[in-house]
């Protein structure tokens, strides 16, 4: 992957995709500063105080992703969690975000345990090292943590860094990509900053609400990754079956060769029909696709494929029972679809 392509990918799809996955951490790093500012009533420096954690968050992210790129290039081997691990990680993120939201809403003292509380020795050391600047730890730490929850696009670039099999090229690739994602993070944070100065004390509740929504989204992604029929999307589809599906179902299906268009905005068609009791050849077709839909996964079969930006990858699916519904999604559960096997 070319460095410019990595940068543009980050600037466009990567920025939004990563913001959706990692926005909670950024909001978490901002919320500490907002809480602190509201307590101390430092109105004049309000904007500057908020800009600092955002910049620190992004800088630490830039550094840690570049180092990761170096390591990916160096080891040149797969550093990819399987579907179940990613789903568990998504649930953990969901619990963390929802717990923090409930903490900010002051629902119950137990939710205070969702707040990071570094040991006194560590905070003492940091305070004495950086007097009057004790607010940088949280955003830096959270920026570093984003490496644990890469979005689908990031995973694609990580895979590309592995392919370079060169630590410096890997580092440069990840640096270019992360640099590309930074403006989106900063602009969205800027609007959050503007909002905070308008809303002041109400903003804490807004941040808590956003954390709550992001937590639920993380949970939903986890459920989708597990191929669970109880995800919000699946339940909605069950309750509101589309007309299109009903019409298509009228024609019997016999062809064991299926084709799925992998687009920047998701999979087309979202529902594939396949004959039961025979192996299926599923062709995944990409055409200048740079979104996280490229990280294709079928949780049930533990199949994960990082697709090329343009090309065709064939996945073989073993024979299935009639009536079986098999879910597929991108590796973070953002884009989904299913294969319905008919007898």
């Amino acid at each position: 992957m070319d460095l410019w392509v990595a940068f543009i990918t980050g600037l466009t799809t990567g920025g939004l995709s990563c913001m959706a996955v990692q926005g909670g951490l950024l909001a978490g790093s901002l919320s500490n500063q907002i809480e602190q500012d509201l307590v101390s009533q430092e109105k004049k420096k309000f904007q500057l105080h908020l800009a600092l954690p955002i910049v620190l968050f992004l800088l630490s992210k830039l550094v840690v992703y570049t180092i990761a790129g170096f390591l990916f290039g160096l080891i040149g081997s797969v550093f990819q969690l399987n579907t179940i691990s990613r789903a568990i990680l998504q649930f953990a993120i969901g619990i963390f975000l929802i717990g923090n939201a409930l903490r900010m809403f002051n629902v119950h003292p137990i939710f205070r345990y969702f707040s990071f509380e570094p040991p006194s020795r560590l905070t003492r050391f940091i305070r004495r090292k950086a007097k009057n600047n004790d607010s940088w730890v949280s955003p830096v730490f959270l920026g570093v943590l984003t490496i644990l929850i890469p979005c689908g696009v990031t995973q694609s670039v990580m895979a590309a860094a592995v392919v370079t099999a060169n630590p410096w090229q890997g580092a440069a690739l990840m640096l270019a990509f992360t640099l590309g994602t930074s403006p989106v993070f900063f602009i969205l944070s800027y609007f959050a900053t503007r909002l905070s100065s308008l809303m002041e004390k109400y903003f804490l509740r807004i941040v808590a609400s956003v954390l709550l929504v992001l937590g639920l989204v993380a949970f939903e992604s986890g459920l989708k990754l597990m191929g669970s029929p109880y995800s919000f999307t699946q339940l909605t589809q069950l309750m509101l079956p589309s007309e299109k599906q009903t019409v298509v179902n009228a024609v019997p299906v016999t062809n064991p060769e299926l084709q799925l268009a992998v687009k920047n905005e998701g999979y087309e068609p979202e529902t594939l029909r396949a004959p039961a009791n025979q192996p299926i050849m599923l062709s995944l077709v990409t055409n200048e696709t740079y979104s996280c839909s490229r990280a294709f996964t079928i949780p049930e079969l533990d199949i994960t494929k990082i697709l090329p930006a343009s090309g065709i990858v064939i996945v073989e699916i073993p024979p299935q029972q009639p009536g079986k519904v098999m879910a597929f999604s991108c590796s973070m559960g953002m884009y989904t679809g299913k294969i319905v096997f008919e007898g």
Binding site: S31, N32, Q33, E35, Q36, V39, S40, P109, R112, Y113, S115, F116, E117, P118, S120, T123, R124, R127, R128, D134, S135, S138
Partner: protein, 71 residues
């Protein structure tokens, strides 16, 4: 003489509050060590009673923006 008191601080809002309260050990003469916990809403203070009284510690906490009660 070195002494220790345990305070309840029920208006800590976040982990940054604990860092702010812990900073009292560097700012207030007589306070030797502070271990604060947002999760427990508690603050353990080790102090030299020849330099500062318990009331003086409560005042220092109040100036920092919090309300403390001796347990």
């Amino acid at each position: 003489m070195k002494k220790k008191i345990v305070l309840t601080v029920s208006d800590m809002h976040c982990s940054n509050c604990t860092m702010r309260l812990q900073a009292l050990e560097d700012e207030v003469t007589g306070i030797l060590q502070v271990d604060a916990s947002y999760q427990k809403q508690r603050m353990d203070v080790v102090f030299d009673d020849s330099l500062i009284s318990e009331t003086g510690i409560l005042d220092a906490v109040k100036i920092a923006g919090y309300t403390a009660i001796i347990q």
